[in-house]
Amino acid sequence: MGEVALESTETTIEIGGMPILIRTDNPEFFEVLIHRYGGFVNAAAKPVFEFDVEIVPPGKITDEEELGLSFAGGRWVLERSDFHAEWNAASGTGMIRQAANPYAIDSAMRIVHSLLLARQGGLLLHAASAVRNGRAFLFAGVSGAGKTTMARLAPPNVTLLTDEISYLRKAAKGYTAFGTPFAGELAKPGENISAPLAAVYLLAKGEENTIEPVSETHAVRGVLESVLFFAKDPELVGHVFESACELVRQVPVLRLTFVPDARVWEMVG
């Protein structure tokens, strides 16, 4: 009996209009991918990035307890105790060594997207976002400020883009918000749709529902505090900073103080 060749399987996951091809020879992991990114799989899309995923048994892979990201000689390296990823930004190719679960690939996807977006004037933010009447609204705030609460309280005519990681790209005019599969406490991926961003709300829980303007510096600080970005590269940090300033210049940023019940949505959209 001859050797059985391992068949490589691949799929393309398109988030924010940026298709990333994932190739693996592990059928179990392939099923994990399809299940995890279901609504975002677009096999017909032309990838801007390709990852080969090598599946290893669960356990410690590297000595890095914390997530570590470094860049040298054109190569990014991303490591945590349970995975090792590296890629070449210029060639758009990379590899990930991990166990057959969605956690490592999820971390890698978030960081690769944040780096791709940084050069295009876009932002990945720790924020909930949703679409109502064809316009997108983003809800940013520190942990406990109410992102998941806002998502949970959304009425039926609101489509949730995400309760955890919001995806913004610069458009010809303003910004476009995209749905993402990155879920928080709701444990439910967002819808794979997009809409023009109408407002950014900096969340705070309070005793009444109010919407107030904030100064430009408060707005930029509020946005930057929510930005998902790990690189210490001065050029990329500069891009992210400029993107936050540009977002504040183009989109209203407001302080939304709210009582955590459904009435808050009467003020949005």
């Binding site: 100064s215 430009e216 510096t217 930029v220 600080r221 930057l224 970005f229 210490k232 590269d233 001065p234 940090v237 500069g238 992210v240 900073f241 400029e242 300033c245 504040v248």
Partner: protein
Amino acid sequence: MSPLYIARSKSVAARMLGGEMMIMSARDSTLFDLNDTASAIWQAADGATPLHEIVKRVLCAEFDVAPEAALQDTEEFVKELSTHGILLVSEEPIPQVTK
């Protein structure tokens, strides 16, 4: 006492917003808001002009403050910013440091 020279670090991003200079450190992503006098010093930090000249030209002329007290306060301020890596401070002129 040797004059001090100050220059803006290359490892920061900065923008004037609503009359305040906002600066972000690439080293640790820390954000700094500078008020109008601090913003004026930041903008004058060209690596070539001695600090006492900046104080005299920018602060004393524009903000009507006494030179000696202003210089002392400014020295403390620039040393504070240098500890965060967003401003370079030297007893020699600092070449080619502006973006």
